[in-house]
């Protein structure tokens, strides 16, 4: 266990200083600031637009960061051979996988926290600028703490994306891993539509495939509570638990699968 935590700590230290995520986080913050300007163009919808765009930016940048890190976890290490020195230490390959994954999740949460801070910053500015009469008409307060629930579920989503990227990178190159992970992410978001494919005019064979994919793949749509939270609708603790738990199981599946592949892999 200490070995796992030591690896996690090392990964965290290395990843948190990486430049690419900084750029992506910066870009997300920029988007949030820009959303403020955009909101001025659409009278009355400003708080909603800022909330919507901000969450979308955080989610999208988060996914990119997760993919970037996920493939760096294994594929990049294998390509650059830095994996040799770590694997020759007294750790099993499964400890390696779990430790790396944990370190990465911590890094992601740190990045997400920065984005959340910027998000609330922009909203606080809006809140300060808007007169009380208009604020009365808002469906939910600008600095609604419920928004944190949205961020929490984004974090859960990122944990899955990272696990996906890690899984693919145990057996394929960096580029292929990135492509496959993004593809699965997209499928995960269209999961609901996979089930109802036939009502969209697909042939019966395709609909059956769609339904199979729907059942087997993790469904990412429950993690997207943007619509509810932005409109001030409640997101129940039960929803959070169920969604997180279900995704958590998939993460476990991916980590075990990664270990299985990793254990028997030759590092040429």
């Amino acid at each position: 266990m200490t070995a796992v935590l030591a690896i996690a700590r090392g990964v965290f230290k290395d990843s948190i200083r990486d430049r690419v995520p900084y750029n992506l986080v910066f870009f997300a913050v920029l988007l949030m600031a820009a959303s403020f300007l955009l909101a001025q163009l659409t009278a009355g919808q400003d708080v909603k637009i800022i909330k919507d765009l901000g969450l979308a930016a955080a989610s999208l940048m988060g996914v990119l960061i997760a993919v970037f890190f996920g493939i760096g976890l294994v594929a990049k290490e294998v390509e650059r051979r830095s994996i040799y020195s770590l694997l020759s230490k007294p750790i099993t390959r499964s400890q390696f996988i779990v430790g790396k994954y944990l370190g990465l999740v911590f890094t992601l949460i740190a990045n997400l926290a920065v984005m959340a801070l910027a998000y609330y910053g922009v909203l606080a500015y809006l809140d300060w600028q808007t007169p009380a009469s208009i604020k009365a008409g808002w469906e939910a307060a600008a600095l609604d703490p419920m928004l944190l629930k949205a961020f929490a579920l984004i974090a859960v989503e990122l944990m899955l994306v990272t696990a996906l990227a890690l899984f693919f990178s145990t057996f394929s190159s960096t580029f292929l891993s990135a492509a496959l992970t993004i593809a699965m992410y997209v499928i995960g978001h269209f999961s609901d539509d996979l089930r109802t494919l036939e009502s969209f005019g697909a042939s019966p064979a395709l609909a059956m495939i769609g339904r199979g994919l729907y059942y087997a793949f993790p469904n990412l749509s429950p993690l997207n509570v943007t619509a509810a939270v932005v409109h001030g609708q409640a997101v129940t603790a039960q929803h959070m638990l169920l969604a997180s738990g279900s995704i958590g199981l998939y993460v476990a599946v991916l980590l075990v699968a990664s270990t299985l592949i990793f254990e028997r892999r030759d590092f040429k």
Binding site: A3, I7, R81, S85, S88, K89, K268
Partner: protein, 321 residues
């Protein structure tokens, strides 16, 4: 108990798009290294040296055969507590500093943070990294990374260390320092298994060597046993000799090198008694500069092993396994 022991260790890859052509990276390697021994694992590029090291570190899995380290099979995770490994062309984590890397590895071993810091400090001193230890590894030159690599291999005070091309990237001063370090390790009772194609290092350090060519072990044993410990010729360097004198004795020599200004280096076959020839030359007014037996060097031996393998027509790719 041997420090390292392999029996019939073999690694075959399949090459080609449809994975149809088997390729023997290593074939039937059997050797042993005693505790406290410095063992040189020599061979030309592509001979299978790195493959062997990776098999010993279980970075790759053998096709057949076994290997043991300190009496435990190579797959045993616990034995890795007592060994250290320096990979070829090492690469670590760009954003960590040298210090942080060593502390990281120390903690993976289970040492406390404090202990890790102490070890890191000591090891970085030992490999000659000074204030640069606070810089991130991305800023390090190849030679400095090599030193860090050696340091990380020693974090746990290992009983056996495996070095893959330890001198690579180092300047002459660095190489001397590493040589001294290896000798210090030996003196501490640590077995050192290092692969190299730089023979002078092996000659200076190793008690025993193995030579692999094209994936096969061609020779192994004590250096003194492998190299004919008899002179194969004499080298006589004389001065104040004139050319006509040299021409007169030339038929008895196997080689003459003109060093200039009346100095010559003469190579005498074993059949010629050097004392007698020297007496003749002194009688003509020559002066002795040096007289040395010429022993077979490791380089000669090495080249001869490689050539023998070529002539034996050993082929690594087989059409049928």
């Amino acid at each position: 108990m041997d420090a390292i022991r392999t029996e019939g260790l073999t690694k075959h890859y399949t090459k080609g798009f449809w994975r149809s052509r088997p390729y023997a990276a290593l074939e039937d390697l059997t050797l042993h290294v005693g505790q406290g021994e410095v063992f040189g694992f020599l061979g030309p590029n592509g001979a299978g040296k790195t493959t062997t090291l990776k098999l010993l570190m279980q970075l790759i899995f053998p096709t057949s055969g076994r290997a043991e380290i300190l009496g435990r099979p190579v797959g045993d995770v616990s034995v890795r507590r007592r060994i250290g490994y320096l990979p070829e062309n090492p690469y670590f984590y760009d954003n960590l500093t040298a210090e942080e890397l060593l502390i990281y590895f120390a903690r993976v071993f289970g040492y406390s943070a404090q202990d890790g810091r102490a070890r890191a400090s000591r090891l970085l001193d030992e490999v000659g990294i000074g204030s640069e230890r606070r810089f991130q590894l991305r800023k390090f030159s190849k030679g400095m990374i090599q030193r860090v690599g050696i340091a990380q291999a020693l974090v746990n005070d290992p009983e056996v260390v495996f070095f893959d091309e330890p001198m690579s990237g180092l300047d002459p001063i660095g190489r001397r320092e590493v040589r001294e370090l290896i000798l210090r390790l030996r003196d501490k009772g640590c077995a050192v298994f290092f692969s190299s194609h730089v023979l002078s290092d092996a000659e200076a350090l190793c008690s025993r060597v193995a030579v692999v060519v094209k994936g096969r072990l061609t020779a192994t044993g004590r250096l003194s046993d492998l190299l004919a410990n008899r002179a194969r010729a004499w080298e006589l360097v004389v001065s104040s000799v004139s050319q006509p004198v040299i021409d007169r004795i030339a038929p008895r020599l196997t080689g003459v090198t003109v060093l200039g200004e009346g100095r010559f280096s003469l190579e005498l076959p074993l059949t010629v008694a050097p004392e007698q020839l020297l007496a003749e030359l002194v009688a003509t007014g020559a002066r002795l500069v040096s007289l040395n037996p010429v022993r077979e060097t490791l380089e000669d031996f090495f080249v001869q092993q490689v050539r023998a393998t070529d002539e034996a027509g050993i082929v690594r790719e087989r059409t049928a396994s």
